[in-house]
């Protein structure tokens, strides 16, 4: 089945899974930052311009891990709310079937308490769902913006790598490539998530 034909609570779970993948890649970016620092130290004066960049790579990795972990939690919460909303919507449908089936029954009004309570619960879940969806949209956009610096960092890293001696050039270029490919992979997961979120916004 294609993702877009899933129910909304499944889409929310798929978003959580996408962000989980992004978090794992962001953690790898952290390792890249540590490696970059080690290579820069070994390269000595030849990579003097590269060293400050490793701090930026490290910072980017930290921010990305933090943001993607938070967004992952947010998506997991959204998935839980969506599943509860589905369960509550289902209960409302069943109650409405009872009102039809037992129309005119002496005790039919006694169902009102359960129906009203479930309706109240449905309203709370709906508003919570909207809030979570809106927050998720903002956070995804913010993370995507943060990742734009990765392209600049990769370019600067390449420039600095070309200044280093031949012995370290390849290692430093690898660092630049890793930063670029990690950022690109995370961006892909974010774009997929954003597409799924826009599906949810249309359904809501």
């Amino acid at each position: 089945m294609h993702k877009e034909t899933y129910s909304f609570f499944v889409i929310a779970a798929v978003i959580a899974a996408e962000l989980d993948k992004a978090t794992k890649i962001a953690k790898k970016l952290s390792i890249t930052a540590s490696n970059a620092r080690a290579v820069a130290l070994r390269a000595g004066e030849g990579a003097a311009g590269f060293r400050p960049l490793t701090d930026f790579i490290d910072k980017l990795a930290t921010v990305t891990v933090h943001s993607s972990t938070e967004i992952n939690t947010l998506a997991a919460d959204l998935s839980r709310t969506a599943a509860n909303k589905f369960r509550t919507d289902n209960a409302i449908n069943k109650f409405e079937a009872v009102y039809k089936r037992a129309e005119g029954s002496h005790f039919i009004d006694s169902l009102n308490f359960g129906y009203d309570r479930t309706k109240g619960c449905q309203y709370l879940l709906y508003t919570n769902y909207q809030k979570q969806l809106s927050k998720l949209t903002t956070e995804l956009e913010t993370l995507k913006d943060e990742l734009r610096t990765a392209v600049i960092l990769a370019t600067l890293s390449r420039v600095e790598a070309s200044q280093a001696g031949l012995l370290y050039q390849e290692s430093l270029n690898n660092v630049a490539n890793n930063v670029e490919s990690a950022a690109s992979a995370i961006k892909d997961h974010i774009s997929t998530s954003q597409h799924l979120v826009s599906n949810l916004q249309q359904e809501a």
Binding site: F95, V98, F107, S110
Partner: protein
């Protein structure tokens, strides 16, 4: 869904709901039993999600929702209690009585408002407005944690899967010819019941009860001498048998 009153006296009545012609295909037909006392109502094995609307629509023809105060699940199967999450939304102040063994499992059906009363292995009593109902152990028949409900005053044993038969939704509510009914029960008991020892222990304890009606969760109700016929037949039946085609 049809509704029959099978017992009534000044203190309480027993009603069976079942033979739901509107139920979706490919789900097993079930009997749901209801005991109504002065201020309380007990629903026994209230059934699956698919049955919920029909079941609630029928029950509120009998009592207001706030009077549905107790649920009983003989064991953890979906045809017994998968509707729990919906009852949980509908009821105001209810208790579910079920084997202690299944509490952690049954809660997976969704239970935020209803409270769980765990029945110990040896069984226990439930008193509703002076009417005493006994949770009668029936472990391994078929579930490893399993109870029947016995009403000494009405002489009714709600026997869960014991005495169950697989037949169509338009079958009569009572056994009319025991011998011809055997074929509808045999495979069910041999395949679903795993233990001869547990079966014979239950038969011996059930023989000590005064039973006028034995009410299974699937199939037909046994009355009078057919109860004794069933106990004799069940005692002689080897169970835990895999039928191969």
């Amino acid at each position: 869904m049809k509704s029959y009153t099978i017992f009534e006296n000044p203190s309480h009545k027993w009603i069976v709901l079942g033979r739901d012609v509107d139920k979706p295909d490919n789900i097993i037909d079930t009997n749901q039993y209801v005991v109504i006392t002065k201020k309380n109502t007990l629903l026994m094995d209230p059934g699956g999600i698919e049955l919920f609307s029909a079941m609630l629509a029928n029950v509120i023809k009998l009592v207001p929702v706030e009077q549905i105060t107790h649920l009983f699940a003989s064991h953890q199967d979906p045809d017994i209690i998968s509707s729990l999450g919906l009852w949980d939304q509908a009821l105001q102040n209810a208790t579910l009585h079920s084997p202690w063994l299944w509490e952690g499992f049954i809660r997976h059906f969704g239970m935020e408002h209803i409270s769980y009363s765990a029945i110990p292995d040896e069984g226990s009593d439930l008193k509703l407005d002076g009417v005493n109902l006994e949770f009668f152990p029936a472990h391994y028949l078929h579930s490893s944690g399993n109870f029947n409900v016995y009403d000494r005053e009405a002489k009714i044993l709600m026997s869960g899967d014991i005495g169950a038969a697989l037949e169509s939704a338009d079958a009569p509510m009572f056994v009319e010819d025991f011998d011809s009914h055997i074929e509808k029960m045999k495979m069910f008991h041999q395949r679903w019941m795993p233990s001869n020892e547990a079966k014979n222990d239950w038969v011996n304890r059930a023989r000590a009860l005064d039973i006028e009606m034995m009410c299974p969760q699937h199939g037909r109700i046994f009355k009078g001498d057919d109860v004794k016929r069933f106990l004799d037949w069940f005692e002689a039946l080897p169970v835990g048998i895999l039928h191969t085609k």
